[in-house]
Symmetry: D2
Subunit: 358 residues, 4 copies
């Protein structure tokens, strides 16, 4: 019953096996191995377009390096107030970007409100050299609140951003979950909607540590791509034994493994949501479109869950285990490794002494 985070689990066995298989023999180092080339080819097929890929070990590196590649130090990156880059990366974008500025845009369920974005973009940099200038829009899909952007929503935001000369970046830590949840193609959910750079995360979905930074339309983005290559090395993110990354990514992308994993995580999320909705006194606080739920639990339920060994995070973390009188608010994340039995056991604990709705 671990609903803390996909990070608590190891990799899928298939990924470990692929790493072991790729381990034999000598290959070119620093990302020039044959598997890396195959990954790039596979991504071209999946995304139905030309692209350029860089592999790195963490989402923080993927986000920060790519944003730094499209923003000058005096650039403004628009992102949601609750975005991972704003809240959980210890200022990595500012560091890699030479002191660039994040501008926090509000919106429900951690989705950027288009009107707010339009207003913020219009105001940004109007003062000339006295102000930082519009440089990039960073979206997250799934959002930090587990919500889903649909292509039309992305396109509307991207249009505002492109109109101001911004690049559009997508933190795709849970992109696979978004593809599955919305039923759109990877292409429709990325470059066809206006995404210029996609940080496609495998780590939270079966890999140990592997993220693909994808530049679409590589000819147009040649300068950013060249910049990324130097920044990756200089940032200590160019692995000598690059097969560590390419082997993971190759196996993860093979035969829809990545999407099947996400589909399972989403299904577990929906199973959990359905079960919780049937229990009086428990409120699901977000749209729960995929595998992430934000839930208010009565204190008694929370204590029973803890006693029963259920692991999950309070959210926001500023709460205590005793809650605030109206129970505790928690985040429940289903991972590709979550078993239906874990979900059901969790639900049983939730419902044990609570009347179930007819």
């Amino acid at each position: 019953m671990n609903f803390t985070s996909d990070n608590s689990f190891g990799a899928a066995p298939e990924i470990i096996e692929a790493m072991a298989r790729a381990n034999d023999g000598t290959v070119d180092s620093y990302g020039a191995d044959p598997l890396a080339a195959r990954v790039e080819g596979r991504l071209r097929e999946i995304f139905e377009t030309d692209l350029r890929v860089f592999l790195v070990t963490t989402g923080t590196a993927a986000n920060a390096l790519s944003l730094a590649s499209v923003s000058p130090p005096w650039g403004t990156v628009f992102c949601h107030t609750e975005a991972h880059i704003a809240e959980d990366e210890c200022g990595a974008p500012e560091f890699f970007g030479g002191g660039l500025t994040l501008r926090h845009v509000p919106g429900a369920e951690a989705k950027i409100d288009p009107d707010a974005l339009a207003r913020f973009v219009a105001e940004c940099g109007a003062g000339g050299v006295h102000q930082t200038q519009p440089a990039a829009l960073s979206l997250t899909n799934l959002t930090e609140k587990g919500a889903l952007y649909r292509p039309a929503e992305i396109a509307a935001l991207a249009e505002i951003a492109h109109g101001a000369g911004c690049a559009v970046h997508l933190d795709g830590t849970r992109f696979a979950n978004a593809v599955v949840a919305g039923g759109e193609s990877p292409a429709d959910l990325s470059w066809r909607s206006g995404i210029d750079i996609l940080c496609l995360g495998a780590t939270k979905n079966g890999a140990l540590a592997a993220e693909a930074v994808i530049f679409f339309d590589p000819e147009r983005q040649a300068e950013a791509i060249s910049s990324f290559a130097f920044r990756r090395k200089r940032g200590g993110h160019l692995l000598s034994k690059g097969r560590l990354l390419s082997a993971q990514m190759d196996a993860w992308l093979a035969e829809d493994f990545w999407l099947n994993r996400a589909a399972h995580a989403n299904a577990m999320g929906q199973r959990l949501a359905a079960g919780l909705r049937a229990i009086d006194g428990i409120d699901i606080l977000n749209a729960a479109a995929a595998n992430m739920l934000f839930v208010r639990l009565p204190l008694a339920v929370h204590r029973r869950l803890r006693a029963g060994g259920a692991a999950y995070y309070l959210h926001p973390p500023s709460q205590t285990e005793d809650g605030d009188g109206a129970g505790v608010r928690v985040r429940l994340v289903c991972s590709p490794s979550t078993a239906p039995e874990s979900v059901d056991a969790f639900l049983d604990l939730c419902g044990a002494t609570m009347p179930v709705r007819a």
Copy 2:
């Protein structure tokens, strides 16, 4: 009738004369000239305490260098959403601070709301290394909206900041105006209220280009002071002929010149405010505590003023000269050089065809 900004005016003749006087002979360079020592001594008297002073040419340099000296690159600096460091310095604090993060705190009249600050500080950095950490609180007095912090207000904010290990920085571009407007001593309005670093601006109040960065309690702040010295040089802000700065500052501080200048600017601001309040259809939008007014003008009045040669800025700058149906919103700044005749001429234009209130 120039109400644009103190920046449009030259220096006071007394300042120019002092610069000319200080020009003769050879003296030690790089800030080791005798006048620099005298300035430090004079500031000790004015602020009734020990302190350490660095002189620089711009407010942006003063603010950014001092904040960088008390914040690590992964530090958070809390400031008002409309603070100069957030809006008008092109990311200088982030640049000098190695990618530090500004956290915008709301509050009326560009004064930081204590409850909001307490909440923001409590949330900041709770996630450990995943998040930037509380490092400094930056206040501005007079605020960007011309409002005045009183000592008790500063002390309340400083207490929150100090409780989280933050240094407290004051952007004192218009500190002289604040001293005069509130009637408190420089000491009461700074270190006695919890200010650790004061950027005391002379440029907007009679000098050509001279700002004093004052570290109070220098023994406790020895590390920040040492850091500042290297950062100033490395930032290109250590003048070889340091007398350029010390001569200005010495003359500016002599015999209450600085306070007398501010008193005049404030008096002109009050004269302007009183006049405008007496005119129907004109709204003063801020508290107008000193020399800065934010005013809504009917479009007809605005056009008459422009035709008559009055200079001032639209505020916010996103407006057009045609306003928004409800007139135009403008910023009116009185400088030490503003003549009463200019104020009266401005008021005459405002009131010409408008009925005056009984």
Copy 3:
């Protein structure tokens, strides 16, 4: 017959197996897993002292993050002209260090000359704020030229550095080879000789991607350690699934695996050196103390080797495959995976048509 670099090989099977074993179950993320604690304990035993460890994926990250943790942006890091941090990390120390300065010190076989260091240190920063200040000495053992520092040599250099307030950093990419080659204990070759920070590299010696940054005397270095923790996260180098790193390092350190691997690589290096010395016309250009040889080959020999499938790098890389009239200069690196048969096959090709010395 691959003598290019340890990087061309995969990991040792034992390391891959350990990664697979560590993959099961849920553990705390971000470096708080039980294996990470075990690694720290094991290193305390190996180095016979208290210490604090951080794991990262690359040597560049290890070096740059640790140097940034002990140098202010206006610090000077003394290193050999041919050091990896100077030549092969694309300015990573300057980047992570906020623009710190590397000062290149000469010396034979990529070992820093003590007299040169003393002179450079004495001159450094004497101009006060006008100059960058002494901050760190960075050594490499084995050096980039395959030479070995002995404890007394390190102690002499560390004494000069410590006398100027510098921290002493060791790039230990091939530290295991140095331990084996010199026969000294890890403690004698590190903190007992004055090393404050050791970047212990496993990647070139059996791991896939794992480097341990070791701070000795952690109480004294508390500030640098805290700085490192934030810099690692902010640099994108804190892996969510930290077991990827701890599992490698745990297996690598177990039962002298690391030293046995290095012993094999060194033995292969010595076998190769002995064979080459017996062949007329081939000159070994370095001391060849361990597993790295720098060799001048007659052009005919070089061509025969290439035709026979031998892989190795020209060194310096500015040469062409046609050499310079006096043959070609090459670098030959033996890895833990190098088989004696490969060495012998290489020697056979070298000697085929060359008269062997009596």
Copy 4:
């Protein structure tokens, strides 16, 4: 008898008077004043070409901001080992350039040796992303050792640099002295010889604090120019009352004032050199092409000079006042304010008890 540095003197009275004249009335701030436009026009005439000018207060700011504008953070800037940017700016180029790298090139009299430059440039960045890349060549004329580059010498170095895609930057702190000493036109000594960016220093030659950063061929350098504008603001180097700078520069450039000043300083330097050459036991160590002499003095002479009130610096500064058995080595700088009487008094002290050559 002050031969320490041009920095010990104030500004020329003409400059102070110009500042006073420019002080009246309101003008646009932040560099948009009419005098700034006139300065740009005047420089176009002087340099006989189109150009774009930015004014700043210090040479360090001028150098660092302009180098950062033409180098990526992973760029290498080639400069002489003794260049001011390498020795006396506390790492300002590295700071402004986001951690760029200076590569020290040797050469006599602080002039870069063309063969050494060619070799360094050829080696730079050949390793691809593992290495910093050629970005700029920085020359200094007069050099730090008082030597003069002639146009053909500059052209030869610039050709090497341009061939590697480098911009060519000239630290022209003493450019006026170089123009006068060589008798070439400003154009011949700058853009016609391949200089892309000239930092033209007035501070050491009559101004208080005024340096002009000149971009030649502004259309080609549009990107660097835009970058410079943001960097200047962000660096705190955009003065609100820009007339402080433009008034100085306007007066300095008027009617060959700048060249006449330099001519006087050079003449004093030559008078001093001629006098010293006539005295047994005194060695002039540099070519003494203009106003800077490096001289070895017998200890007795040095003591007599000190007793007589002569001010000058030991050079290198690591010496003590007691010298090294072979006397003391000193730097003697003649400024535009140096009177012939001072030179003669100095020479009298030198020669007092020393036999004068027939």
